[in-house]
Amino acid sequence: MREKHIGLGIFTFLVFVFLLGPLVIISVTSFEQGTVLRFPPESFSLEWYKNIFEVSGFLETFKVSIYLSLAGNLLALLIGIPAAYALNRFDFKGKALLEGIFVSPIIIPGIVLGFTFLRFFITYYQLPIYAGLFIGHTVIMLPFIIRVVSSSLANFDFSIEEAAVSLGASRIGTFFKVVLPNIKSGIIAGVLIAFLESFNNVDISVFMTGPGVSTLPIEMLTYVQNYFDPTIAALSVVLMVITALFMFFVERLLGLSYFTKR
């Protein structure tokens, strides 16, 4: 049984136009040959894709962003997995409060968080720029790790853990042999999502970057302030493709409904 609603069809179409339209326009204009962003483009070239690699800042800050995401992810995992485990495994006083604190970086506006970090890490404690960035990014990644790993653990039957212990495994051994393998996909998905969150982050980084040290999104922001050529469009397409690939893997691992449900 399939009913047709013309109104609904049009509405859906419009939603897609608004959602995908800008992406299409950016993608198309990135192939423009001229030095100004134009739509529709008047000629075709891969000139500006080449230019991405010629503008020295992009490659440099791309590396910074990658290292930052990887290092932050590692620390967020070391804190996040035990935290998620404790929140799901045990009942204790102040559990709800603790959960709230762990998720708060998602709720607090990034700009507030960014300013606070600037005030404390840089101005007050005089931390080096890299250290500040590292801590800041770990903080914004942590909630994603905890939430995704938590939802994996919510489906985990903890009597399996007791079974392992009753068969002679130590508590730590049990965690590595039985718990970890069963929440593996949740951990990988958490890492991918946290990675994107950090890699695309502007509002924290904009406060924490300083002379000579920048992340890719911040570098792009600076570039747009000075130039109008389609390099940014080309770079955006590259980043979109990377993001799409990431989401594809997450989807294959867990299904996107995993995140929209909660």
Binding site: I160, L167, S170, P181
Partner: protein
């Protein structure tokens, strides 16, 4: 000689005592069931024996050694969980081999022992399957194999059959009993299903509110419950609260509200509650009662319910209300009919 003993054990959860001064002793090679309604402490007792729970007071002695503080993974007990608790990321073989790998058994020996135990539970050929590809009964067999392969000093079952359908449950309990007897492993078995416990156990402990009301072999419990709770739990639905009892030459004369019933001689020395099963009572229409009715009491039918095999009557008498199952052979009795209730003296059990 007993294999293990729980001595004056107390377990509390959030300041509420679940077990208080609890005692239990089980002999080598026995299969003992803990039976009782939910919340009676049977699972707590089992988890205490396994070591998942710590007692606040008291001692757990195993082969005369103090096991109270020995952690779970050093006890060498096999535990079979209600929900099987198989490792979902491991094959049947790896699931069963898990305990042996923790014990650093050699590879060849692991293979040997796993295959042998899979033979015992009739799962040879399923080694490479993952738990998700097994039926409920097969999962339970894997769980049993996994507990058996470590050659445990004690085997513990926590309601292992409650997730299986009725037919399978009967097959599995026969299987469990067979394996247990073949290997001679001392076993503690928790269930809330009376038939299940009676059919597989050497002894049954009926538990209520954290204490054992009676620990005996199934036939004794069935015939001679000690307390009113046990009697009620195993199907004695009728209770007569006697005022006093007197020893006579041919039995006990028990009196309630001026009516004296004869009760057959029995072990219970002081119990004043008479328990009778609905099946053991007889009903006659008042005008057609034979002369030889034992312990006749007059009454009136309140409700009659057709059960297929028999009729169930609620009968009001001067000494209380009775539930009677009477076969449907004769013409059924009508609501409000005057009747004579026969309480055969052999069927009355005096309980505390």
């Amino acid at each position: 000689m007993s294999l293990f003993t729980l001595q004056d054990v107390t377990v509390a959860y959030q300041k509420q005592a679940i077990l208080q001064d609890f005692n239990l002793s089980i002999g080598e090679g026995e299969l003992v069931s803990l039976l009782g309604p939910s919340g009676c402490g049977k699972t707590t007792t089992l988890r205490l024996i396994a070591g998942f729970l710590q007692s606040k007071e008291g001692k757990f002695l195993f082969r005369e050694k103090d096991y109270t503080k020995v952690p779970v993974n050093k006890r060498n007990f096999g535990f079979v969980f209600q929900n099987y608790a198989l490792f979902p990321h491991m094959t049947v073989f790896d699931n069963v081999a898990f305990g042996l790998r923790q014990r650093k058994v050699s590879k060849a020996s692991i293979k040997d022992r796993v295959l042998r135990v899979l033979d015992i539970v009739s799962l040879r050929g399923f080694e490479e399957r993952f738990p998700a590809a097994l039926s409920g009964g097969q999962k339970q067999r894997v769980a049993i194999a996994r507990a058996l392969v470590i050659e445990p000093d004690l085997l513990l079952f926590d309601e292992p059959l409650s997730n299986l359908d009725a037919n399978l449950r009967v097959n599995m309990r026969v299987e469990i009993r067979r394996i247990q007897q073949e290997l001679g492993i001392t076993t503690v078995y928790v269930s809330h299903d009376q038939e299940e416990c009676f059919s597989i156990s050497d002894k049954v402990a009926i538990m209520n509110k954290g204490i054992i009301e009676q620990l005996s072999d199934p036939a004794t419990i069935y015939r001679q419950p000690k307390t009113k709770f046990v009697a009620d739990f195993i199907g004695f639905k009728n209770f007569i609260q006697f005022d006093r009892r007197r020893q006579e030459s041919d039995g006990i004369a028990a009196t309630v509200q001026g009516i004296t019933l004869t009760v057959q001689q029995q072990d219970n020395a002081g119990g004043l509650v008479g328990a009778i099963r609905p099946d053991d009572l007889r009903l006659y229409p008042l005008d057609a009662a034979p002369m030889t009715v034992e312990n006749a009491v007059q009454g009136k039918v309140l409700i009659s319910t057709y059960l297929g095999r028999s009729y169930q009557y609620e009968v009001q008498t001067s000494i209380g209300q009775f539930t009677v199952n009477d076969d449907a052979g004769a013409a059924p009795l009508a609501n409000g009919q005057d009747v004579v209730l026969e309480i055969p003296k052999k069927q009355i059990v005096l309980v505390d």
